[in-house]
């Protein structure tokens, strides 16, 4: 990863790191936690579900970097028990950060309320960028997450329970595919002749559908398709 990690000047975000590997927490903190240069202030760390829920409730950060696999129930459990601080406007937002490739893990935390998912191979710059986007209320889809979502919403063998929720619009699909192809939001906007704001709203709509979707088999289905 590079040294040239720089956030948006003048902006700060308070972040809590939740990961059961101390080495990883230390590494991330060293990379993004240099407040003057990145604008990110790591206000707390936790290594299991219990401590995560406690630390989040105490510190009320802007963004929680949440590992998917945690002792005591995993990231999903943290999300479930933090519903209180998550719901309110300007509340705590969660970004899933995982090494896991398993669709059920990824889709699970997203449905649990996380605003995005990135893999641990992400560069420091991109991570800082993602944190600020999450703090702004946007959703962060890595190419891989976009792939999972496309797969989960693709060819349905069962009739959707809720037509509006269980279907992605043509535009949303296009946006997701471009993300999966490695396009940045800016590039997507250029390609589709829409504004970056519109791209963001499409992504947020997809996230909402994913979290509210009635299709219980979503996860199972995605797993069955043996995604990368």
């Amino acid at each position: 990863m590079t040294d040239a990690v720089a956030g948006t000047p003048g902006r700060t975000a308070r972040v809590v790191l939740v990961d059961d590997h101390r080495m990883f927490r230390t590494g991330v903190r060293a990379e993004i936690g240099r407040t003057e240069s990145t604008g990110i202030d790591v206000v707390g760390e936790a290594d299991d579900v219990e401590s995560a829920v406690r630390v989040v409730a105490e510190t009320r950060p802007d963004v929680v970097l949440l590992d998917v696999h945690l002792p005591g129930g995993g990231g999903v459990e943290v999300l479930r028990r933090s519903a209180g601080v998550m719901g309110e406007p300007g509340g705590v937002k969660f970004l899933a950060l995982s090494v896991s490739d398993a669709a059920e893990d990824v889709i699970g935390v997203i449905r649990g309320g996380a605003r995005g998912y990135v893999t641990k191979t992400i560069t420091g710059t991109d991570l800082v960028d993602a944190i600020f986007r999450i703090a702004d209320g946007d959703a962060v889809f890595s190419p891989r997450l976009a792939g999972f979502v496309l797969d989960a919403f693709a060819a349905t063998d069962t009739p959707p329970v809720d037509e509006d929720l269980d279907r992605l619009t043509q535009r949303e699909r296009e946006v997701l595919r471009l993300i999966a192809r490695g396009y940045a939001y800016k590039e997507i906007a250029k390609q589709l002749f829409i504004s970056v704001k519109t791209v963001e709203s499409h992504v947020s709509a997809v996230l909402r559908k994913l979290q509210l979707s009635n299709r219980h088999e979503l996860t199972r289905w995605a797993t069955a398709r043996r995604l990368v």
């Binding site: 792939g147 496309l150 595919r177 192809r181 490695g182 043996r226």
Partner: protein, 488 residues
Amino acid sequence: MASPAPEPADSAPTADAPSSPADGPEGPRTGPGRPPYRKLYRSPHSRMLGGVAHGLAVHLGLPVTWVRAAFVLLFFANGIGVLLYAAFWFVVPIGIGEPALGAAGWVWANGQFVPAGASGVTPDPLRKAGRGRVGRLRDLLQGTFQGEPVIAEQAVPGEPSAAASRRNAGQLAALLMLVIGVMWLLNALHLQSSQPYAWPLLAIGVGVALVWRQADDSRWARWFGLAGARRRSAVARVGAGVLLVAAGIIGFLVVEGTGNGVGAVLEASIAVLAGVLVLTGPYALRLWQDLGAERTARIRAQERAEIAAHIHDSVLHTLTLIQRRSEDPKEVQRLARAQERELRLWLYRPEAAAEAAPDTLAERIREVVAEVEDRHGVPIELVCVGDCPMDERIAAQMQAAREAMVNAAKYGGGGPVQVYAEVEGRTVLVFVRDHGPGFDPDTVPEDRMGVRESIIGRMKRNGGTARVRPAPDGGTEVELEMERAADD
């Protein structure tokens, strides 16, 4: 049943016996330097019926023919031979995995007895293959009573169920015929009139034999396994055994003249059985649960051992390599990437799916990505949506995709290459994108064949299309579109 009787025929200890402790006292004699005590097993090798004679021969170090002859002789002494044989058959477990006649045993070869193994003469364990009707009847008998498949299949757990069920039906038929035949024989010998209990006793004996053999350890192990067909056949055998015993008891009562009281006796028996069940039920349940728990623990331990072995084989070795070559960042990255990929695949790939479809688009493109990544040292991020079986067109598309990835790795400025593959209906789309300086395909000189031939030409020849275009914010994107072959 008679207790394990003294061995027939005085056992003459053979001279050549480093590995043959002639029938010693029961009990371990495994002192240091001493050969391990040879337990008495029924031998699954070249047996005639239950492997008793053979097992005894091996155990005693006697020629198997002698033992057999002893049994036959004893048969004429009021049938003691049969009883003895039956007793051994019941009490002595079969030695699966036992060697055939070892150095302790003797085989008939070239007109004389020779110690097996000493002269290159080995009893043919497959002697049973391709023999006549008698041999098959013998198999049926063996199979019926103990579900012991013939040798060739003994080593193979979970044999084809169709064949197994066919054999089961045959076995049951054989059993019935055997019973009928024996009854006829008894009748013919006028045993029936003088000994009216012969029939019921025979029925009870056969029934008990059937049920008992199911309690064999290996049988139980398989019961707990998931093999449904085997389990059903075992249940059927036990059921048949119980029926036989019941029929025998009733016949017994009828013969005895207390047939009128059958109803009362039945009631009383059921009442007693119910009482026993109520009393021992909880214990049995506990036992059952303990068994389950133990089994789970064992499976867990096995799994952990497997994971440990895998991590040792791959991850630890890679880490060692990385420590050794830490001054070569390229190599370190390559090793780490390859290891990460392998471990991911191992951890997250649904096993069943992987086995069911070994050659699909997702599989293939993963291989291609791994290969290019390793060779060119540029990380490639693959996202794959949907999957389909490979066909010739898709294979061509994969070759084109490979070429595109190589180009992206070479000229893409070293940044990560993004590959996206999607199967939508019959259409397979592959995008390969880099973040390099980009290039205009029109300015590429005519003699550069890479893109034109390997990618665009190849796709065209196979009925697909390829587009190469600059990505919006720098870099190049190659789009490959192909219809899958019509037949599925």
